[in-house]
């Protein structure tokens, strides 16, 4: 996982929170609220996909064979 993706989890969570905040503001109109809701849900899906369960590998590097093995 590279740095760009790493950042994007924090950003996505922030985006989700900001969307909620935006809708909560009294002067936010219908159209803007709908747009915020849509983008918030998109951030939510991104967060969720980044947190999706994956197979967790626990390995050990074998220097002699120069390859990894199960730990």
């Amino acid at each position: 996982m590279d740095n760009e993706k790493t950042l994007s989890f924090d950003q996505a969570l922030k985006g989700l929170e900001l969307a909620a905040e935006g809708i909560r503001r009294e002067d936010t109109g219908l159209e803007e609220s709908m747009e915020l809701y849509r983008s918030g849900m998109e951030y939510y899906r991104l967060c969720k996909s980044l947190l999706a369960e994956a197979e967790q590998k626990i390995e050990i590097y074998n220097e002699e064979l120069q390859k990894t093995e199960e730990f």
């Binding site: 969570l13 939510y44 980044l50 999706a52 994956a54 590097y61």
Partner: protein, 405 residues
Amino acid sequence: MALKPVSVTQLNQYIKRILQTDALLGNVTVKGEISNLKFHSSGHVYFSLKDQQSRINCFLPEDKVDQLHFEMAEGMAVCAVGYIYLYEKGGSYSLNVKLLEPEGEGDLSIAFRKLKEKLEKEGLFSEKHKQEIPSFARNVAVVTSPTGAAVRDIIKIIRSRSDMTDIRVFPCLVQGTEAAKSISRAIETVNRTFPDADVIILGRGGGSMEELWAFNEEIVARSIFASQIPVISAVGHETDFTISDFTADRRAATPSEAAQMAVPDVFRLRREVKDAELSLEEIFRKKLRFLRLQMEQSDPSALTLYMRQRLRQEKLRVEGLIQEIRLRGSGQIAAFSAAVDRQGAVLEGYSPYGVMEKGYGIVLNEEGNQKSLAGDFRSGDSLTVMLKDGNLKCTVNAIEERRQN
């Protein structure tokens, strides 16, 4: 009877042969204190070893300097292994050192301080070189002993926080003379074979200063500094500070803490994200309700209805007020006029005419000012006495003053 004279060179050559073929002097271990320490530009190190009575010149060749596990310092107690070497030209001998080790813990502290100063000066500990530890690591490299408690703790903590973070252990020695090289090589191996690693946890469990010593060696500090992947150093217990801790991008008090720093609590984050999503939906629904209400109120027929209601309410309110004023008004006015009558009576009592009504008179002098004392007048003065129905113009015949009580 002396032999035939020999040249100086011949004598020195002879001594050299004797000294350098002696089995004991060919491999001797000497304890002493370092003094006259000189780092030559060639990389060789010249110094003396001394005790209370004597000193011996020592020479440490450049290739052995590189293998030192510590920084040499003036006054440091060391143990040197080497052989006696004679410098023919000067006729002097010295200990040619092959191996040098500090003696005792106190001297390890000196070595530690020296190296710390040196690397600090070079900027290896500088904040500006520190890499940020990614907040969302997916791949963690662990450089430690594969059999120690540290690796078990690290894996345990990571698994308790995440079911999606891969862990790859890079085994190395964590104590003994070969440990520093082994650690350094492992860090380089991670960078070479596992560039996807988000972070390296480097560490070992607790131990004595000697046992942790590898983490105070320069070669380890250099490898940490050179690592492209951020390094968290977690050596020994909370109170142990090593050169490796200072050089690393972050220091953790223990291997377990390093694991916490390296890996986010995915289980908690999943809950947080779900909560944030639910709250977004709820806020959005609330907003829609609010907007619908606003819209209904702006609808002309709804507005008329609303206004009519408001009018009715206002009318009722006003009528209520009037009623109330009326009810209270009648009683209050009566009470008020009674109060006015009472006050009038009181005031009348104070009025001079009220007094004259009772048969009293008021005396004025010639200037028309009211006077109340006999002493205000002399015989022959004119005065006026005001009575209820008219005034009497009088002249004073005599004054009889009455003593005041």
